[in-house]
């Protein structure tokens, strides 16, 4: 029989307002095994924790039940507290009487009754708790960064600077990501390439960083400290070790009609290409969808012109297996597709462009060489209408429910740049709200309005109709209370951003959770924003939620700091709540082995004592506690109940059931 102490927390008035904490501690004092029961204002406070520790000594407690907030909040805190007082951390159970009781019930009687029942369940469980000690597992001192945008680069650089090996896996032929496509950056208006490309070069030259460009993560096994990752290097038909990046092939290639993805299809490139001049690595890649040699076996021009002999039409996808201690997800974002937004005539007129396309049209390295020209006729636009929140903050199926966060600022930037470069243009911005929380952001926006004379109109654009080379924009001015009709030369749509499409399958591989919008979920929204709930998986940049460059870089460095913290350790404390087979009951049937997602279960032939001094050789399951993550799939697959889960044993769960149903 355990000697159990019960500690009921008021959580200020968070619990005490709807739960009679005094009564709860009194009633629970009557439960079998409870030798001490009390309540206190803030159990998690220094004083509260000391009270628990003193009680452990004074009453020789063997088990502790804390009725407080969610165990997701303070379980670790209280476990540490008790451990310091000499009690095993796993002799502590939390009854969640805040999130799952006081906060959802308004009536004191109801709340109190439920709190008592939850407390009883915790007491019933503690009765069956056993001290658990965690094992240790080694940490592979190498990190993987998935995604080579600014987030990935920054994370990789920071980790590498701390002295750890980092691999970057980038699906494009070059690292750099979205930022390479951007012209200027808000609110400083410095050139994106000027600040990004040096970092790309740093990454490429860093002795601790290895870049797998044009590559994807194929398979992930293992767990924190010990991930085994298979990386697929897609065939680029160019030998990376030989290509000098001279670019001759990209000039000589006869296949000229390939939409240039880097410029979002606003112009064409060759079938063999280097995405842009500062690409890292600067290696040509053959676009297999367009290369006539690969498609029909006729051509071979690039091969002929390449003096380095780097062209290899027979190249195939190759697979690399590597072990990592930590994985950083930096898969970034994309603007949403606008094919569902017919009202803005995006697919009808080339002069209706997305902001990112507009970015390319303004960029000196873009299709127009930096001169703003209408895509339809190359004419200089005089009236430009910017539409905000296209697909953001949307209730319907077409768009996204969230705010894309960066559009207000880049639209202000675009509007400002237009007016600066081409003062003769009329610039209208239709917005729902202008959101500018950020250092120097609001000032930036006000400059656009006040200094640059951008027409900011609170209202919605209802329709854009291409007519006679113009775009007729119908809109409402909510403040003016009028309908507006504007004849525009260009319409720029601030498309919502969404996570990259590779994120979802990647999340499945990593067993990292995602929200309904496919953004990766952080371990805690406030306190652990750069970690995934899955140990060893970290989040960097827009894959976790919309963010601008400074935020992205900040998060990237934060993620790096977390990774460094992990890789600094020689070994990790394993999850002590692992599966454990009772060999005497094990049938050796392999059911558990088949459902284990970690391959933690193996079999051994062992000798057992049979009746009448005989020995029996039997096949029995063995669990590797360093690999077992404690999901419990095996415990249910096991027909004889030989497999049980420490910390969540059959008996413990049933005791909770019994206590609740009592």
């Amino acid at each position: 029989m355990q000697r159990i102490g019960v500690f009921v927390c008021w959580c200020g008035s968070n619990i005490a307002a709807t739960v009679d904490v005094e009564k709860v501690s009194q009633v629970l004092a009557q439960e079998p095994g409870v030798v001490f029961s009390t309540n206190y204002q803030y159990m998690c406070s220094q004083a509260g924790q000391e009270m628990i520790q003193e009680s452990i000594h004074k009453y020789q407690l063997t088990g502790v039940v804390i009725c407080s907030c969610s165990p997701r909040m303070h379980e670790a805190t209280f476990r540490k507290t008790c451990e310091k007082a000499g009690l095993n951390a796993h002799m502590v159970e939390i009854a969640n009487i805040r999130e799952q009781c006081s906060w959802i019930h308004k009536d004191m009687a109801t709340g109190t009754e439920k709190a008592v029942i939850l407390g009883r369940a915790a007491i019933a469980k503690v009765h069956l708790n056993a001290p658990l000690t965690a094992g240790q597992s080694p940490v592979k001192k190498r990190a993987l960064v998935i995604g080579g945008g600014i987030a990935g680069i920054q994370t990789a650089l920071d980790i590498a600077d701390a002295g750890f090996d980092v691999d970057i896996v980038e699906k494009q032929p070059t690292i750099g990501g979205k930022m390479t496509q951007i012209d200027k950056t808000f609110p400083t208006l410095d050139c994106a390439a000027c600040i990004l490309t040096p970092k790309m070069v740093d990454a490429a030259q860093h002795e601790k960083i290895h870049i797998y460009s044009y590559a994807e993560v194929e398979k992930v096994k293992g767990f924190v400290g010990n991930f085994q990752v298979t990386i697929k290097k897609k065939a680029r038909y160019v030998d990376e070790t030989k290509c000098t990046g001279c670019g001759l092939c990209t000039e000589k290639c006869p296949q000229k009609k390939v939409p240039n993805a880097f410029n979002l299809g606003l112009d064409n490139r060759r079938a063999i290409y280097i995405p842009f001049a500062q690409a890292v690595p600067k290696i040509a890649t053959i676009d297999a969808d367009y290369c006539t040699m690969l498609k029909s076996g006729k051509c071979g021009v690039c091969s002929k012109v390449c003096t380095a002999g780097a062209i290899d039409y027979k190249q195939t996808d190759t697979y690399i297996e590597e072990e990592y201690g930590a994985i950083v997800v930096a898969t970034g974002f994309n603007p949403i597709k606008l094919d569902k937004y017919d009202e803005f005539a995006y697919s009808q007129s080339p002069d209706v462009v997305t902001s990112l396309e507009f970015e390319r049209l303004m960029n000196a390295a873009g299709p127009t060489g930096g001169t703003l020209l209408r895509p339809s006729d190359g004419a200089h636009p005089h009236t430009i209408v910017f539409v905000q929140c296209v697909g953001s903050r949307c209730d319907d199926e077409k768009g996204k429910p969230y705010c894309s966060k960066i559009c207000c600022m880049y639209t202000a930037k675009h509007a400002m740049l237009c007016r600066e470069k081409y003062p003769d243009t009329d610039v209208y911005v239709f917005y729902i709200d202008v959101r500018t929380p950020g250092k120097n952001f609001d000032e930036f926006y006000r400059r656009a309005v006040e200094e640059y004379g951008v027409h900011y109109i609170k209202g919605m654009v209802g329709k854009v109709v291409p007519q006679d080379g113009k775009l007729k924009v119908q809109a409402s001015d909510l403040l003016g209370g009028s309908q507006l009709h504007i004849e525009a030369d260009m319409v720029v749509l601030a498309a919502a951003i969404e996570p990259d499409e590779t994120a979802r399958p990647l999340a499945t591989m990593l067993t990292a959770s995602m929200d309904t919008n496919d953004f990766f979920t952080e371990a805690h929204p406030k306190l652990r924003p750069v970690e995934s709930p899955t140990a060893g998986i970290f989040l960097s940049g827009a894959c976790q939620g919309p963010k601008d460059i400074p935020e992205t870089v900040a998060q990237a460095s934060a993620a790096a700091a977390k990774v460094i913290g992990l890789l600094c350790k020689d070994s990790l404390t394993c999850n002590p709540c692992t599966a454990q087979p009772d060999e005497l009951m094990c049938n050796g049937c392999s059911s558990c082995e088949k459902v284990c997602p970690y391959g933690a279960i193996t079999y051994a032939d062992k000798e057992f004592r049979g009746p009448n001094r005989t020995t029996l050789l039997r096949r029995v399951a063995q669990v590797n506690p360093a690999v077992c993550q404690g999901c419990g799939a095996c415990t249910v697959a096991c027909p004889s109940g030989a497999m049980d889960l420490k910390g969540f044993s059959n008996q413990q769960i049933m005791a909770e059931v019994d206590a609740i149903c009592r």
């Binding site: 049938n587 059911s591 697959a637 030989a642 008996q651």
Partner: protein
């Protein structure tokens, strides 16, 4: 058949292929055969019997027998061979210590069914094609053989012997079986009717554990219901709930592993149609996850240790229609 089996047993013993033969042993009457291990030719000559009453599935005995010294020969009927292979798949039988003689089968007889047709004090049964001549203390009756088959034989799913070293008789085929008809009939009832049906059936349970102990899938080293530590040990039928619990959990534990050998129903002293619970699982598995026959091969994953990304949701049970009870 009896003669061929006996000869085979003698041959295997005399040429030292095996040291023991697992078969059926003669009883007091013509029908009360007991599974037995024969070690000598003399025993085989004297006591080995194969007849329409050799219903007992011998595969489960191999868990113990295959771990003893020397090789053991076993006679397996088609449905027994499924149980055997399933046990092999679960590493319960050491294959190298077993010599399997597969025997073709044309259905086995059920003494309970013969008695139920009004035959009291039965002293002999002679088979003549489709007719059975039943001699009793009170006279002689003729019965149709089909009416006296074990339930599992009346709805035979397969005449194929899936694992063997040697065959006696013809290899058979998997059959189109109407074994799910009764399950479907129950499914078509209202929940109230189904509840009443099972209450009536299970209330007869005396928790003798015969179903469990005969079941080749219930071969746990220690059953959860016998295990004090499991927290669900239950020995008595102290409440109707415990009857339900025992049979639900037993069916669940063998789901995906039960080959539908029908032994549970054959041995139930209270004639509870326990096979219906297992068959319900098999029918559901077939419908939800694709046709699966436990023991049919060595490789296919059992449906409960497998999944697909687009498996149906549990709510399918609610959605399948029918009136809510």
């Amino acid at each position: 058949m009896q003669k061929r089996l006996k000869e085979k047993a003698l041959e295997l013993l005399s040429n030292c292929t095996v040291t023991r033969v697992l078969g059926w042993k003669t009883g007091e009457f013509f029908y009360d055969l007991t599974p037995a291990v024969f070690e000598t030719a003399e025993e085989v000559e004297k006591e080995f019997v194969y007849s329409g009453f050799s219903g007992a599935n011998l595969s489960k005995y191999l868990i113990q027998e295959s771990r003893k010294q020397g090789k053991v020969a076993v006679f397996l009927k088609p449905c027994d061979s499924y149980s055997f292979q399933q046990l092999l798949k679960e590493h319960r039988i050491l294959r190298e210590n077993v010599y399997v003689v597969g025997i073709s089968c044309n259905g086995l007889l059920d003494m309970e069914k013969i008695r139920a047709q009004g035959c009291e004090g039965v002293t002999a049964v002679t088979e003549d094609g489709d007719t059975l001549t039943v001699d009793t203390l009170y006279g002689t009756t003729k019965l149709s053989r089909n009416d006296c088959l074990l339930e599992r034989c009346a709805v035979c799913k397969s005449k194929k012997i899936v694992a063997f070293d040697e065959l006696i008789g013809e290899q058979g085929e998997e059959l189109e079986s109407n074994r799910f008809d009764r399950v479907a009939e129950l499914e078509a009832m209202t929940p109230e009717e189904r509840f009443a049906f099972w209450r009536e059936e299970l209330s007869r349970c005396i928790r003798c554990n015969a179903c469990r102990n005969v079941c080749p899938a219930c071969s746990c080293e220690k059953c959860v219901f016998d295990n004090e530590k499991s927290g669900v040990r239950n020995k008595a039928i102290a409440d109707s709930f415990e009857e339900n619990l025992f049979h639900i959990i037993r069916a669940f534990h063998v789901a995906g592993r039960c080959t539908d050998c029908g032994e549970c129903s054959r041995v139930c002293p209270q004639n509870i149609p326990l096979h219906l619970l297992n068959r319900k699982f098999i029918k559901d598995i077939n419908e939800f996850y694709g046709v699966y026959q436990a023991g049919a091969d060595m490789d296919t994953k059992s449906p409960l240790t497998d999944f697909t990304l687009d498996d149906c949701e549990p709510s399918i049970v609610h959605e399948r229609g029918g009136v809510q009870g």
